[in-house]
Amino acid sequence: MAEMIRKREPETVPQEGVATQERTLSLPQGETGAEQSARRWLSTILVYAAVAGLLLLLGWGLVKVNSGQVDSGLAPDFTITGFEGETITLSELRGRPVIINFWASWCPPCREEAPYLEATWRKYKDLGVVFIGVDYADTESKALEYIEEFDITYFNGPDLGTRISQAYRMDGVPETYFVAKNGELRGVHVGPLYPPKLDEKIEELLAEEYP
């Protein structure tokens, strides 16, 4: 009858990751010592492997959650369609500094930085700087009201399926990413921008050489 206990358990238990060793509990007398120890070893290894696998998964998730914004290396590429239907692809903007600003109409700090962003855009647009406003988790009507309210004239589009914010591992709005002429990230600013931070950053980006 011990057979019955032993055989029933492995079917459901091992996936749980903590519990496969029950069958070593009362080995039938028919098995040789070598078979017993082989089975014991195998189940032991399986248990440890399952737990290690789970921990690996959790550890990986933890690293991902805590790694924060992408703020160096090549900026993740994306294509975004604006509220007026036009399309921009980041990788096609090489040679020009790009300012990517994540915002939402429901976000009060975004309102604080909106006038400064627009003023800076007007100041630098003739020098080849590109501003991309990425509207995060918003409704189109509210977003358009917001754009009208602050008379925003630079490019703006919705982040459909929050794909762009995921790629940049954005944490909340507002956040602003600075992309150099060669497509590399030159840092991120979390929270609203106040003068002269954005001006300084753009001057730095403009000063970079690009072949």
Binding site: T12, V18, E22, L25, L57, L58, N66, D171
Partner: protein, 696 residues
């Protein structure tokens, strides 16, 4: 300043915790008289941790109440607009405070266990203290070093930044914001007083059986039975709190979240359900271990698994690894917590494997038609459900790791995958108590289940004939009524037997239950679980909904109900919210039954809306009305969503019955009876004594 006293007390409790852990482990390792004396000292240290932590908790609570915004934690979760009640509950409204509260509860549990006399299992005490205090001290350490509720806000004069630190950074001046952010709006609810504390009591309570199991394995006392009985009692304590927490959480979600139901398979709900499932499995398998000396490994695994799942749940909730409605926000908690979990998991498994030989079964399974086999099967079902829930919970993470895309599985997966398993489990619930120990004759069993079986088939059949609905519902109803009738029939048989001896029915009932608390308390718990099951059946198979825009005076219908939109007004509410409240009248078959006022509260500072339903409740069903949209100008038209939620009331009633049943089950039995209730047939004992020699 008061906060310094709190900080000092917290630090002292941390040091005491380290002392208790180290000294008790050393004492246990020595194992001699000197070792026991050391363990005694560790015990005193542990008992001292509680008053010191209490001081910390009181200081934080007072700071929240008196709005001491110098403290970053207070500025984060309290605010002038909040009522005193909410300010007090803000103790567990954010990461730092809730971890302190958690540590306090855990230390309280450990101290309560140590307070009692340790006659039967005093040899376990040193290691028990070491394991329990290692865990408690770990959590206190998190509070001290990582999320300290006594950290203050500082203004760095150089860069102008505001930082959080316990001690003043160089060149900084104290910063006191004029007002705090206040609690997350979803937490501003009366449920805040019930759900979090009971849940925490449930989670922290599982450290007790775990510490018993580990210390029994460490000392080799796992060979004996006493420790597992003690574990059972403490598991029951943690389990009932977790159960209450689950029910209150469901109630809260139903009242506040506005998604029409009480259970959404959110990762954090699952994180709570999983230890509940394995804990329940343990409470069953332990009966077999106690009475027959079987399933010992099984019981130990379930204790460890329950605790591991409680830790896992805490980990995913507090680190945000799996996103859910209970996000705590990002902290540096992750890496340390991860190491702690890894050490706990691997340590327990290593120890369990090392001590397997102490957990030999005293009897073999004699027949599949026996109570032992039924309990084993029922345990497997519990584990299968746990696994299914676990898989669904980590699936977003798993899919992202493997394919790069996060795939979240929703309620349909959980319902489809767990539904049949729950069905089978409920069938076991009806039949398992009717099985005899060791061996059951099929004929006897057949007679025992005949009446409930026929009765439930009739009920399900009649229902199915009159209400042609989802076929799954007939089955669910059959299973549910089978259990209920089987349980009531057990009571009936017991009472009838006593009445034959001339007792009146009420006395017979009282004596019947009084003679065997555990058995009849268990039945009452089963009844409570079935009531909650009814609510699930109603939710899955019979929920009905409709949505419409109404002008003032217009009506919409749902079945025999009619809802008339009377008025809509906007006014400023308490604690910084703008309230939009509709007045509606509910009619049933043309007759007025209730005024319902569904609302939409908008928290101005947090820019967060909250949809608060109004509900008309009867025993058969709830009519749950949501205000989902309105015309901003003139407030002349609104959109309402109406749910008909059958049988929901029974989830809450079931929760109360569950508590009642647990109360009956844990009610101390008179001493004389307690001793006789565990005695086995002498023949089997003798047979056991001979076995270990051949087993080794």
């Amino acid at each position: 300043m008061l906060a310094n006293i709190g900080l000092a007390a917290l630090t002292v409790s941390f040091l005491l915790g380290i002392y208790a852990t180290a000294v008790s482990a050393y004492g246990g390792w020595r194992g001699d008289a000197r070792g026991l004396a050391l363990a005694e000292s560790a015990r005193n240290a542990t008992l001292l941790v509680v008053p010191f932590l209490t001081i910390s908790v009181l200081v934080v609570t007072y700071a929240l109440y008196s709005l001491d915004f110098r403290l970053a934690y207070v500025a984060g979760v309290s605010s002038r607009a909040m009522s005193p009640f909410l300010r007090l509950t803000a103790l567990w409204g954010g990461q730092a405070g809730s971890l302190l509260f958690w540590s306090w509860l855990m230390a309280g549990f450990v101290a309560t266990v140590l307070w009692r006399k340790w006659e039967a299992d005093h040899e376990l005490m040193p290691y028990f203290i070491a394991v329990a205090m290692l865990t408690t001290t770990f959590f206190i350490g998190l509070v001290v070093f990582i999320t300290n509720p006594f950290a203050q806000l500082w203004h760095l004069t150089g860069s102008g930044e505001i930082v959080e630190a316990v001690f003043r950074p160089a060149g900084a001046i104290a910063f006191v914001p004029p007002d705090g952010n206040g609690l997350n709006p979803l937490l501003r609810h009366f449920g805040m007083i019930g759900h979090p504390p009971t849940t925490y009591l449930g989670f922290t309570g599982f450290v007790i059986p775990f510490a018993f199991a580990i210390s029994a394995l460490l000392t080799g006392k796992s060979r004996e039975d006493q420790w597992i009985r003690t574990s059972r009692r403490w598991t029951l304590v943690a389990w009932i709190f977790l159960s209450i927490g689950l029910v209150l959480g469901g109630r809260w979600a139903y009242d506040v979240l506005g998604w029409g139901g009480f259970w959404g398979w959110d990762p954090v709900e699952n994180a709570m359900l999983m230890p509940w499932l394995t804990g329940t499995a343990f409470l069953h398998s332990v009966m077999i271990t106690e009475k027959r000396g079987m399933l010992k490994v099984w019981s130990v695994i379930l204790i460890i698994l329950t605790y591991a799942l409680a830790l896992f749940g805490t980990f995913i909730t507090r680190t945000g690894v799996i996103s859910s409605v209970h996000a705590f926000g990002k902290t540096a908690l992750g890496p340390v917590f991860f190491v702690f979990i890894a050490v706990t998991f691997f340590g327990s498994i290593w120890l369990l494997l090392k001590r397997l030989d102490t957990l030999k079964t005293e009897h073999e399974l004699e027949s599949f038609l026996s109570r032992e086999a039924a309990f084993l099967f029922q345990n497997l079902l519990f584990l299968a459900i746990t696994f299914v829930v676990f898989l669904g919970t980590v699936f977003p993470l798993l899919s992202e790791a493997v394919t790069g895309t996060k795939i979240t599985v929703g309620p349909p997966y959980f319902q489809k995958a767990t539904g049949p398993l729950f069905g089978a489990l409920v069938l076991m619930m009806a039949t398992a108590p009717l099985f005899a120990w060791r061996k059951q004759s099929a004929g006897r069993l057949g007679r025992a289940i005949f009446t409930p079986f026929i009765g439930s088939i009739l009920i399900a059949g009649v229902w199915g004939y009159t209400h042609r609905m989802h076929p799954g519902s007939y089955f669910a109803l059959w299973v549910a009524s089978f259990v209920v009738i089987a349980i009531l029939f057990e009571f009936y048989k017991g009472i009838r037997a006593r009445m034959k001896r001339g007792e009146n029915p009420l006395v017979a009932l009282a004596r019947l239950v009084g003679r065997n608390h555990r058995r009849y308390g268990g039945y009452v718990i089963h009844l409570g679980v079935m009531m909650i099951g009814l609510a699930f059946i109603g939710d899955i198979y019979f929920q009905d909904e409709t949505q419409r825009a109404l002008a003032r005076g217009e009506s919409m219908t749902l079945g025999e109900y009619e809802l008339r939109f009377d008025d809509l007004e906007m006014y400023p509410g308490s604690d910084g919210r703008e309230v939009l409240e509709a007045t509606t009248s509910l009619f049933r078959d043309g007759e007025f039954v209730a005024n319902l006022n569904p609302r939409r509260d908008f928290f101005v500072v947090q820019q967060q809306p909250m949809t608060i339903p109004d509900v008309y409740t009867t025993a058969a069903e709830d009519i749950y009305v949501l205000l989902v949209g309105w015309e901003e100008v003139g407030l002349t038209s609104s959109t309402f969503k109406i749910y008909r939620n059958p049988l929901i009331l029974w989830a809450w009633v079931g929760g109360l019955v569950l508590i009642l049943g647990t109360g009956i089950a844990v009610w101390p039995e008179a001493r004389r009876k307690k001793q006789t209730s565990y005695v086995l047939k002498p023949t089997t004992r003798a047979a056991t004594a001979a076995r270990p020699a051949t087993g080794d």
